[in-house]
């Protein structure tokens, strides 16, 4: 579904990603882990099409299509969803209004009729139950005055509404207490299917107790330096990242 080949990206001339290679197939969950500053969030942003990052080399195929030439909105319409680490506030615009605009633009791109108010509301009801979100929250200004947990839950709700093919969760666990973590993870798990894939970007193993990955990749200095199964995440939890850093740095100096 997603094939990243030798991806290099920099911000204001400073290289952050230095040759990422990654294959993600439908039905899989991949976890991207790594120490702070290793490029995890950059990878998520580059895939979503954030402009500050300049892709200097490499290519990304998404469902057989070149992803990088597409605008951020077209990537979203093709089915790429990014759950933000820090969801953005939009005063005066309710989640409901925001999502209706978004969903209908996505549907238009896919050649589908826009949803009328009745159908849209019944879809909302269905998805609200999935992520245990309160209707009151959805009529408030998007993310304005939301708690950390409410923001993240709202991200997953948006994901449920837009039904993406590839979901990228950028540090979705940060700022969540254990109950919120469980609710958010449950939501993500319920949305998984054989046709969709998930990339979980996280610093800690904790989230992976709930969203169990098929593969774990360790990112360090802009490269994937180690890949494994969920046991690798447990090993990292136990030993930290230093041993990987040492391993990589010693080979680099040879």
């Amino acid at each position: 579904m997603l094939s990243i080949k030798n991806l290099h990206a920099s911000i204001e001339g400073t290289p952050i990603l230095r040759g990422i290679n990654l294959e993600v197939k439908a039905g899989e969950v991949h976890a991207i882990m790594g120490p702070n500053g290793s490029g995890k969030s950059t990878l998520a942003s580059v895939l979503a099409g954030r402009e500050e990052y300049e892709v200097t080399e490499g290519e990304v195929l998404f469902q057989g299509k070149e992803l990088l030439p597409l605008s951020p909105e077209d990537r979203a319409r093709e089915g790429v969803f990014l759950a933000f680490q820090y969801p953005i506030e939009i005063p005066g615009v309710s989640t409901t209004n925001f999502l209706r605009t978004a969903l209908n633009q996505v549907r238009e791109y896919r050649g589908q009729e826009p949803l009328d108010a009745v159908k849209f509301l019944s879809l909302m009801k269905e998805k609200m139950a999935l992520v245990e979100i309160d209707q009151k929250l959805l009529s408030r200004s998007l993310n304005e005055g939301f708690s950390g947990g409410e923001k993240k839950r709202n991200e997953i709700f948006q994901m449920a509404m837009l039904e993406p093919v590839l979901s990228i969760l950028d540090e979705t666990d940060s700022g969540l207490d254990i109950d919120a973590l469980r609710i958010v993870s449950n939501g993500v798990n319920k949305l998984k299917s054989e046709k969709t894939a998930t990339i979980v970007v996280t610093h800690y193993q904790r989230l992976l107790d709930y969203i169990v990955p098929d593969f774990v990749h360790v990112l360090y200095k802009g490269r994937i330096v180690k890949s494994g199964t969920k046991e690798l995440a447990l090993e990292l939890e136990e030993k930290g990242y230093d041993w990987i850093k040492e391993e990589v740095d010693s080979t680099a100096t040879v």
Partner: protein, 481 residues
């Protein structure tokens, strides 16, 4: 930033939608401004002598005045002698009702999306349409007449209801008030008049639609709204003008009188031609709007969505004379390209326990300048006066300006006056967030701006709110920063 610039450039491709004009036979005054012209206008309108004298007095006062320069706007002064002060479509006979109006004129309004056919119109809005210097039609007159409501052109009011006009004309905005108000008093040609009798709640929205069509012509209309004790009326005003290379002057006066327990809601969606992308042409919108809450427990509420005009100079104000009276001002002012707006309000607290609320949302894009200028004055006798002011500015791009000039003048220690102000930029983060959910940048800007202006847009009557939302999106199309 290069993409932002690109988008800003794209914006300039956006054309003003109502920029067309129509050729028809007109009845015009000679160019220029002098006593003879004023007499010419007055004769043309078959006015009583008291009104001519009133005009001439205003003209004398005006001659001694000079154009105000304190506003934060810069423009080439207009040669007032090169303007025409009266231009009216020629109609073979005066139409008695809407069915007798020249179909050609009706077609103009159809093209603007305004149907004058009472059957076709949405129920619930009566309209008076002013083309250049005259009112061409007023709808629903009979329906309203049954309730004792008078809604007609100013000229007609002078003829049919001279006592009412004489009593209230100039009572809120004196002819000597300011340069443009004095000019208007001297040369005003038409406008709308509205009287709501005691205890009557006007069952439909009343509205005036102003259209400038002729070239080299100023539009000087006057609106007078009188809401007698315990009455209610909601009034709407809309306007457009053709796209012309030269600047045109629009110097209107609106006066509102509210008796005890009366309430007047006045909403404007101003969409005069703003000039082209290089700042050429456009309307100079120098308008004086003021209401007096004369009776106890009266209320006047101004809502304005200002998207047009090259230069705007406008401060819809409330004189809170009656005890417990309430004044409100809700404003969204958008400027783009080279537009300049200096707009705000004055709340003059005279009565006891008077309250005022100001919500001003400025949006600046392109190379425009957008100023809020507001005055809150609490007089000595105004015990327990309350004011809350909120002035927000939203900037798009890095070449525009937003300015806030609040004046607070308190002569009574029991007053409570609050002022809040914020300035923000539409963030790339916000736009990216929208993009990531599949929303195109243009629509993201519209969504964000409408969210920002929501508190004001919510004050508009439903039909107008939808119009205003579209207009905001259109005015700002492409101007991302």
């Amino acid at each position: 930033m290069s993409k932002d610039n690109q988008i800003l450039e794209d914006l300039t491709a956006k054309e003003y939608e109502h920029g067309w004009s129509v050729n028809f036979e007109t009845d015009e005054a000679p160019l220029g401004l002098n006593e003879d012209i004023i007499r010419w206008i007055s004769t043309k309108k078959e006015e009583p002598s008291w009104l001519l004298e009133w005009r001439l007095k205003a003209f004398k006062t005006w001659q001694a005045m000079s154009e105000p320069e304190w506003a934060n706007v810069h423009y080439a002064k207009m040669d007032l002698q090169a303007l025409r002060y009266y231009s009216a479509p020629k109609q073979s006979k005066k139409p008695k009702n809407i069915n007798e109006v020249d179909p050609e004129l009706i077609a103009i309004y159809e093209r603007l999306g305004i149907s004058l056919n009472e059957q076709k119109r949405l129920q619930g809005i009566a309209i008076d349409v002013v083309l250049d210097s005259v009112s061409v039609a007023t709808t629903f007159k009979e329906t309203l007449g049954k309730l004792g409501i008078i809604f007609c052109s100013f000229s007609e009011a002078v003829k049919e209801h001279p006592d009412l006009v004489k009593k209230y004309l100039g009572s809120v905005v004196p002819m000597t008030d300011n340069y443009y108000a004095a000019l208007n008093a001297a040369v005003f040609s038409d406008g709308s008049f509205c009287y709501i009798p005691k205890g009557v709640r006007c069952p439909m929205e009343l509205s005036t639609y102003f259209r400038i069509n002729a070239a080299n012509t100023g539009q000087f209309e006057r609106t007078l709204i009188v809401a007698d004790d315990s009455s209610y009326v909601s009034y709407l005003e809309g306007c457009t003008a053709p796209q012309r290379d030269e600047n045109q002057l629009h110097a209107a006066v609106v006066e509102i009188y509210a008796g005890a327990h009366a309430e007047v809601k006045y909403s404007t969606v101003q969409n005069w031609f703003p000039g082209d992308k290089d700042g050429k042409g456009g309307i100079y919108n120098f308008v004086t709007k003021r209401g007096i809450c004369a009776g106890d427990h009266s209320k006047i509420s101004w809502t304005q969505v200002e998207t047009g005009s090259a230069v705007t100079w406008k401060y819809p104000s409330c004189i809170l004379k009656g005890d417990y009276s309430i004044g409100e001002f809700y404003s969204v002012a958008v400027t783009n390209n080279y537009q300049q707006a200096d707009t705000g309000t004055k709340m003059i607290h005279i009565g006891k326990n008077t309250k005022s609320r100001i919500v001003s949302k400025g949006i600046s894009a392109g190379k425009s300048q957008n100023s809020y200028r507001g005055q809150v004055q609490v007089m000595k006798r105004a015990h327990n006066a309350r004011n809350f002011s909120q002035c927000d500015s939203l900037l798009m791009g890095d070449q525009c300006g937003a300015h806030t000039f609040p004046y607070i003048d308190i002569a009574n220690p029991s007053a409570k006056v609050e002022h809040e102000a914020t300035t923000s930029k539409i963030g790339e983060d916000q736009i990216f967030y929208c993009n990531q959910r599949g929303i195109a940048t243009e629509d993201a800007v519209a969504l964000i701006v409408n969210g920002y202006a929501k508190e004001v847009l919510n004050q508009l009557p439903m039909e107008f709110a939808v119009e205003a939302q579209k207009l905001l999106a259109l005015t700002l199309e492409g101007s991302v920063g």
